[in-house]
């Protein structure tokens, strides 16, 4: 692989990935494992059993002080005040225009609020959050001290239960609690980006290699597979989960992106509220939808033009071969008037017009992830 100048950072697990023969790629300023044994095999391992991921490139911001939760409520569209400690909330964070700065997870913890943001938006998010925090709320960027190991797959609870005193069975999806896993202190979060049951473990960098080694060791019997970023993308894609930079960005609103469920307009003022209320009232002009090409072997790619039945233009935002569905599929924006499931569109695939049908998301419906309890 070509040298990139060596400016990328390494996670605490870099040496582990090299030893496992991972193909490393630069991603958001880090050298990350793209794949180990092969992306289709890794994808299938997560759906069938157990996969382990290094997600230490993600960003973590710690907010403390009176009013931290209320301050976050003004920054994000979803509601975080009124949640119990231990609740995690997925939310977009918007500009005044309603466009999305990032999508993130807010953890309401006993003594702090933790924001977990996309690696690619780390600097932008830090500046944005700091700019909008009231005085008494303290901000600390803990990204450089924090490692994140995710275990995902239908076998995860059974596998981890034997390695922790935390009562995993009692944890609903989108909750988190402190504990130890294989003797390593961790924030244990029942979250993930795969559509399978799973846990994400936030640990200090200096304990991450030990935890990784123990999980691989203990995982030998049930069978655990290291999974890279390539499979991470096909897993989330099959669930219709948005990827910032593809499906959502500063030019898309949560209402357009199918994230209206995260927008709690009954809340007091939050950045973007007026724009989103106005958009809802005047009509959302376009919708992010799933797209199934008529031909199984057709794989629409990001950027390909879509033409709706009424001639309106749209664009593919994510497209790939979906391993669990054995076919090409895509997500993209189409004119709202032609966004109903089954509506026919034409996608320009490298000069060839290919018929496709609007499809409800998720594409993959047999995931083991348990639905989280609905928050207000």
């Amino acid at each position: 692989m070509a040298s990139t100048g060596g400016k990328e950072k390494e996670t605490a697990l870099y040496a582990r990935h090299r030893k496992l023969g991972a193909r490393m790629v630069p991603f958001a300023g880090y050298l990350m494992p793209l794949q180990y044994s092969g992306q289709i095999a890794e994808h299938e391992a997560v759906r069938a059993g157990l996969g382990i991921f290094d997600l230490s490139h993600m960003g973590e911001f710690r907010l403390t002080g009176a009013g931290a939760l209320a301050a976050v409520d003004r920054l994000v569209t979803n509601r975080v005040t009124g949640t119990e400690p231990g609740q995690a909330v997925y939310s977009p964070m918007c500009l005044e225009s309603g466009g999305i700065v990032d999508d993130l997870i807010v953890y309401h913890l006993p003594d702090s609020v933790l924001l977990v943001v996309n690696a690619a938006n780390l600097d932008k998010d830090e500046a944005w959050v700091r700019e909008h925090l009231p005085e008494p709320v303290a901000f600390r960027n803990e990204s450089d001290e924090t490692s994140l190991i995710a275990v995902q797959g239908p076998g995860t609870e059974r596998f981890l239960a034997g390695l922790t005193t935390a009562d995993l069975a009692a944890m609903e999806t989108y909750t988190a609690r402190g504990g130890t896993v294989a003797g390593v202190e961790a924030l244990i979060s029942r979250t993930g980006y795969t559509g399978e049951d799973g846990f994400e473990l936030y640990v200090r960098n200096d304990r991450a290699p030990e935890l990784w080694d123990r999980l691989l060791d203990e995982g030998r019997t049930p069978g655990i597979t290291p999974v890279g970023l390539a499979a991470r993308d096909t897993l989330r894609f099959e669930m219709g989960y948005c990827l910032y930079g593809n499906d959502i960005d500063e030019t898309t609103t949560p209402l357009e992106a199918g994230l209206g469920w995260t927008v709690k307009t009954a809340k007091d003022a939050f950045i973007g509220k007026d724009a989103l209320v106005a958009q809802k009232a005047s009509g959302i002009p376009r919708r992010l939808v799933g797209l199934t090409p008529a031909g199984e072997r057709v794989i629409p790619r990001k950027g390909y033009a879509i033409r709706s039945g009424n001639g309106a233009a749209g664009s593919v935002t994510s497209g790939t071969f979906a391993p669990s569905l054995s076919r090409g599929l895509a997500m993209g924006y189409v004119d709202a008037a032609h966004a109903a499931a089954g509506a026919g569109v034409t996608i320009d695939v490298r000069g060839r017009p290919e018929a496709a049908a609007v499809t409800r998301l998720p594409f993959y419906t047999r995931g083991s992830r348990k639905a989280p309890r609905k928050t207000a």
């Binding site: 793209l34 092969g38 992306q39 289709i40 096909t234 794989i299 790939t320 071969f321 490298r350």
Partner: protein
């Protein structure tokens, strides 16, 4: 990374082996590694005329798609049909079971324009 000594290579990461008047063509180990898991290959039918440097097909990996360029001019005489059901041959055995086309070459001298194994290794090393 494998780069067999008895083959010739193109800048776009195809390989060719001349057996008499028939050229066997595929993509290199470097190329399959860069592409990742391959899922579909679109190849021409037998009888198709191809040109050196011309596009003869498409290779779809999970995460990307790429054109295939012919290293030589001539007529396609055989296509590896096993790639339809087993495109993974290209990942696992790019110089063996992953072969793509057999071409009856118009001018064997065209191979002189291509890189040998050492030149190709250097080409890849420069980050191409």
């Amino acid at each position: 990374m494998e780069t067999p000594k008895d083959l010739k290579y193109t800048e776009d990461h195809e390989w060719v082996r001349l057996d008499g008047k028939t050229a066997v063509v595929g993509i290199t180990d470097y190329a399959q590694g860069e592409l990742g898991d391959i899922v579909f290959v679109e190849l021409p039918g037998t009888g198709t005329e191809v040109e050196q440097g011309g596009v003869f097909g498409t290779i779809e990996a999970v995460k990307t798609v790429s054109d295939l360029m012919s290293p030589v001019s001539g007529k396609v005489v055989e296509v590896n049909g096993s790639l339809n059901d087993s495109p993974e041959h290209i990942n696992k055995s790019p110089y063996g079971d992953g072969w793509m086309l057999k071409i009856e070459v118009t001018d064997p001298g065209e191979l002189d324009k291509l890189m040998d194994a050492d030149a190709y290794t250097a080409h890849v090393g420069e980050g191409h």
